[in-house]
């Protein structure tokens, strides 16, 4: 008995592969059906509510010893913004950089890096959890968000804090949705571990990790930790920012709360 002629074997393989392709495409069409995804999305509300319920506004994320600091903290997302205005600021050592705080605040601010460094600070060794699945530990020093927001004076109508970043992440997206941004509920913005970090592992924050200023919100996943922060805006609604879901990745299907 001879083996199947290679052409016939090849045909069988090709037929099997294309049948599999049709089946998978069908499965994907069902799995990605907007109505079904709408039902599946109910779980995100449950996640957020359950995590809020189980975590008081003072519950701290675990902190680690300096000995556990990762030697290979991976820089993800944008690692060197190509935007001309950012490049100019970086070349000038961020001397001309200003942090703008505006929106629903009593006293809009425009702060130099030294002014941010002069705000009440906190140092913490925490774990960064990427949505991809990996973790890395670093020591962060930064201005407490509570102190910054107190200086600006939140209006009673403010419900969210939006962080606008310098880096264009999706040049092909519609106008207004190209740059990275993130947002925090007030309860998370006012959490004691929520910092605008300018130091990592005792050194000035480097460009791959978000120089000159990045967010640390330690009860959330890595994509929440916005880098290259330029502007902090207090708003009462997220509808008109980006695509309206409260963050660059949330606009692209990820959860805004990002607690798991």
């Amino acid at each position: 008995m001879t083996a199947l002629p290679s052409s016939r074997r090849g045909w069988l393989k090709a037929a099997g592969a294309s049948l599999l392709g049709v089946v998978l495409a069908g499965c994907d069409r069902i799995a990605e059906n907007p109505k079904l995804v709408g039902v599946i999305d109910a779980a995100e509300g449950l996640n957020r509510r359950a995590q809020r319920l189980l975590s008081s506004r003072r519950t701290l994320a675990p902190e680690f010893s300096r000995a556990s600091i990762s030697r290979d903290f991976r820089a993800n997302g944008t690692t060197n913004p190509a935007d001309a205005d950012y490049r100019a600021l970086a070349e000038g050592g961020f001397a001309d950089w200003r942090l703008v705080v505006d929106g629903l605040v009593d006293h809009p601010l425009s702060l130099t890096l030294d002014q941010v460094r002069a705000l009440p600070a906190r140092t913490q060794v925490t774990r960064h959890d990427c949505v991809e699945g990996w973790s890395a530990i670093a020591e962060w020093k930064g201005a407490r968000m509570t102190a910054l927001l107190a200086a600006a004076g939140l209006k009673p109508t403010a419900r969210y804090i939006v962080l606008h970043c310098a880096d264009t992440f999706d040049a092909g997206a519609p106008e207004g949705q190209r740059k990275y941004y993130e947002s925090l509920d007030l309860v998370d913005a006012l959490h004691p571990q929520t910092l605008l970090a300018y130091e990592m592992n005792g050194e000035t924050l480097a460009i791959p990790h978000g120089a000159p200023l990045r967010l640390r919100a330690e009860k959330h996943l890595g994509y929440k930790q916005a880098k290259y922060v330029m502007r902090i805006e207090a708003v009462d609604s997220l509808d008109h920012i980006g695509a309206g879901k409260g963050g660059f990745w949330p606009d692209r299907g990820y959860e805004r709360y990002a607690g798991i």
């Binding site: 499965c27 599946i40 189980l54 975590s55 990762s70 991809e132 990996w134 990745w249 607690g259 798991i260």
Partner: protein, 287 residues
């Protein structure tokens, strides 16, 4: 030849076995069994999609990127993509399945292949949505199963091994009988055998709860609320590794479970998990 000869000889005391239907599974067990089966299927497929986002596993709190204990990857050799799986320093060529596989005829670098991930394309955000939806369904369903099992006495009555079943000689006997694919019959088939009890209890009370707890440990928010989870599992990356290992053990259980369902009477088993009735053969007692 010998076999036909033996078969031709009438059995001594030809007591004709009579089939009777006994109540095997309660409604709660049947419902939770099928919800569990559906949930675990979706959890596995979407879980592999999530694994593919970073197909490497570590021990401890943080990732040591240069030294995962398990990883899949790919490299180009002679103009074609070679899939490689590394486990504890051992390398295996797994082209086509792990590390590198085809998606609509195009070779891709990916951990698990498209035919076993949900969705089939690389789509972490949607994989996560499915995973969390079915995780909630799985947890609620599991809680109903545990509560009804405790309240109805199902665990104590049907799943806890009896004293005689725990004797080493009996356990060894069951292992030998299972290896020969000879399963308990008659009155003995009214109850679970000791290997069944051990497997069911191990999955329901150890593996599945471990999946929930290690899954929770991967949440930065829940780690803040329950820091003891990190102590229990030795860190977030250890929890991710244990989550993966337990998922593999559950798959191994399901493969054996399905094989046993087929080998010990496919239709009888399936009927018992749908209608609750299970047929056993009882000896006709002479008047």
């Amino acid at each position: 030849m010998t076999e036909t000869a033996v078969a031709a000889v009438p059995r001594p005391r030809a007591a004709s076995p009579r089939k009777v239907l006994v109540r095997r599974h309660s409604l709660a067990v049947r419902l939770t069994h099928w919800v569990n089966a559906v949930s675990l299927t979706f959890l596995l497929l979407s879980g592999l999609q999530i694994f593919n986002a970073h197909p490497a596993l570590y021990w401890g709190n943080a990732s040591t990127f240069s030294d995962p204990w398990l990883a899949t990857g790919a490299f180009v050799q002679g103009g074609r993509l070679v899939g490689m799986t590394t486990v504890g320093g051992w390398h295996f060529d797994t082209t086509g399945v792990l590390g590198a596989s085809q998606y609509h005829g195009v070779w891709q670098v990916r951990g698990f292949p498209a035919w076993i991930t949900l969705p089939s394309e690389k789509y972490l955000a949607l994989g996560r949505r499915y995973h969390f939806f079915f995780a909630w369904l799985f947890v609620i369903n599991g809680a109903i199963y545990l509560a009804s099992g405790l309240l109805s006495g199902h665990f104590r009555r049907d799943l806890a091994p009896t004293r005689d079943q725990l004797k080493p000689r009996h356990i060894w006997h069951e292992i030998v009988e299972h290896a020969r694919l000879r399963f308990p019959r008659g009155e003995e088939a009214r109850r679970y055998n000791v290997l069944q009890k051990g497997a069911y209890l191990g999955v329901a009370l150890v593996l599945l709860p471990l999946m929930v707890l290690t899954g929770m440990t991967m949440s930065p928010s829940l780690d803040a609320s329950f820091p003891w989870l990190l102590t229990l599992f030795g860190g977030r990356q250890s929890a991710r590794s244990i989550h993966f290992i337990c998922a593999n053990l559950i798959v191994a259980f399901v493969i054996v479970h399905l094989a046993m369902v087929v080998l010990s009477g496919l239709w009888n088993n399936i009927r018992s998990m749908i209608t609750g009735r299970y047929a056993i053969e009882v000896e006709e007692t002479a008047p």
